[in-house]
Amino acid sequence: MSARRPRSFYVLAFLFVLFLLFLYGPMISILVLSFQGPEGGLVFPMVGVSTHWFERLWAGGGQVEIGAALRRSFALALVVMVLTVTISVLAGLAFRRRFRGATVLLYVAIASLIVPSIVVSLGIALEFRLLDDAIKAVGAVAGIEWVQTGFVSALGPFTSGLGAHLTWTLPFGLLIMFAVFNRFDPAYEEAARDLGATPWQTFRHVTLPMIAPFLIGVAVFGFTLSWDELARSSQVMGAQNTLPMQLAAKTTTVTDPEIYALGTATTGGSVLLLLVAFTLISLMQPRRKRG
């Protein structure tokens, strides 16, 4: 293996290094700048090294909205995750039986992947305004007190926001489940049935444990897609903001490296989530035969 490497190796290696730099350079810059000294600014050079901005972030001085947005985003991502896993599994099971209109339904479901996110978001917002008008009209006619005085809009993170995120996560979840069930040998389920398992027992004791490692993948997908979703969130969260929206707003008026500290912290959170997920997957997979 000591032969001279061809020139193409160096060209390709150079391109690969460029690619890595492009991919990880920004993240590394943010990571480094988040440890900027107290006197430092938004750009290099570093003026000392400190955890000053993390402390400010933690103390949350004057940053109430960030903390609230973070908690809101987290809760929303959890709900999206659970719904994505549940609905994807059920839909994946349904699509295994060739029912009438299956192909059309599939295209309808994944169409929202190709419609621009901002359009989906606007559309949902418009729909909910119609709904608001309807609710107000009904409230007025029926004389419902709280609608007349307290109701502003049905738009919100856990109504229209949740729906908007699901339009994004469900097609991915469904496509993953397709891949999973394509490789799933139905003989396992037949064997369970042969051994006297009811359909529910077959699902509970055979199918579910066998697809569980993939479900963690779907869950992580659902969580992270929701966690950093901006375009689809932009029009549908009502009066409240999610974390990405808050960050986007903050970048336009940003004055200090605290935002970098926030970026580092959230990235760290994502990495931690992935590590936990992969550990779980490797623990759940049946151990490979050795030798």
Binding site: A187, Y188, E190, A191, D194, L195, G196, H205, V206, P286
Partner: protein, 331 residues
């Protein structure tokens, strides 16, 4: 264990989206016998087995197990148990938990079901592996576990879908005698799907040769070998020459073909040796007759080397009249 049961098929038909897989077959398998469904791939043998098991709906006809028509019964209510070609052992469960699965579904307490699984594993000599996961076992070991798991439901009929095809040749021969032993010990009805005529001959009391969704012949291995009904059966089980003899189609066992000196008066054909294949216990001699027919003669190894032949030699061919067996046309 429950008692063995007869299995009876009455004009059983299976159609998939218009394509006929099994064409009105009728068959009676005696209680406690070992039956092999034999045929090339696509002949309908697996569909037949899966219909008996209840994993495939019957398009038409009736399946009876014992005195009951079971067409509409779920698999577990039929008194059958199936061993799958891939074994389908649950990868997330240990060997013992796999074997105890049917008891767990019935709600038998953990200690009792593992105890009974242990006893069943003893029957297939797999107790020492009870804590392993299926992926940690060899093909032969997996097969034993699959067998134990199927027997755990106390079936009266055991259905085996190509159970030996995943094993290497040596193991296949060993597992073959093991299957036969277990069948004899338990006295169950076994229905075994295979495409290997050797396997069917070695195992079965009743060989059912299938072709194109129909039964070409159902008989004992000896009868099938000595009196194949159609050219298809004769060809599929091997060891036969199919010749046209004065307007009739006859089957002639390769070991019934006598190679005689070229001038022999009693000769039925004159031929030239085209090929010699040494096979250990015997030697196969490929022959081409004047009329252009090809046929094989098989001679004991010692007999061949008493007067060896070489390719290109001119010979005469003869056979005893009773060795020629007339065939009916393929259905």
């Amino acid at each position: 264990m429950s008692d063995a049961q007869t299995v009876e098929l009455a004009a059983v038909t299976k159609r998939y989206d218009g394509a006929l897989a099994v064409d009105a077959i009728s068959l009676k398998i005696k209680a406690g016998s070992y039956c092999c469904l034999l045929g090339p791939s696509g002949c309908g043998k697996s569909s037949t087995l899966r219909m008996i098991a209840g994993h495939e709906d019957v398009t038409d006809g009736h399946i009876m197990i014992g005195p009951r028509v079971v067409n509409d019964d779920p698999p577990a209510a039929r008194g059958t148990a199936m061993m799958f070609q891939s074994y389908a052992l649950f990868p997330h469960l240990s060997v013992a938990e796999n074997v105890a699965f049917s008891l767990r579904m019935k709600g038998v307490a953990r200690a009792e079901r593992l105890d009974r699984a242990e006893r069943m594993l003893d029957l297939v000599s797999m107790t020492e592996f009870s804590d392993r996961k299926p992926t940690q076992l060899s093909g032969g070991q997996q097969q034993r576990v699959a067998l134990a798991r199927a027997l755990m439901t106390e079936p009266s009929v055991l259905l085996l879908d190509e159970p030996l095809s995943a094993l290497d040749p040596f193991l296949r021969v060993r597992m073959r005698s093991e299957l036969r032993r277990i069948q004899a010990e338990m006295g169950l009805t076994f229905i075994h799907v295979t495409h290997s005529q050797e396997e069917a001959m070695a195992l079965a009391d009743l060989v059912v040769v299938m072709n194109d969704g129909r039964i070409a012949q159902a008989a004992s291995p000896r009868e099938i070998y000595n009196a194949p009904r159609t050219p298809f059966v004769a060809r599929f089980i091997g060891g036969h020459n199919i010749l046209d003899d004065g307007g009739r189609t006859i089957a002639l066992r390769a070991d019934d073909v006598a190679i005689l000196p070229p001038g022999e008066a009693a000769a039925r054909r004159r031929a030239r040796v085209s090929e010699i294949e040494y096979r250990g216990p015997d030697v196969r001699v490929g022959l081409e007759t004047e009329a252009g027919e090809t046929l094989n003669a098989v001679m004991r190894e010692r007999a061949f080397f008493d007067s060896p032949l070489a390719p290109g030699a001119d010979v005469a061919i003869g056979w005893r009249p009773e060795a020629a067996h007339e065939l009916s046309r393929d259905a």
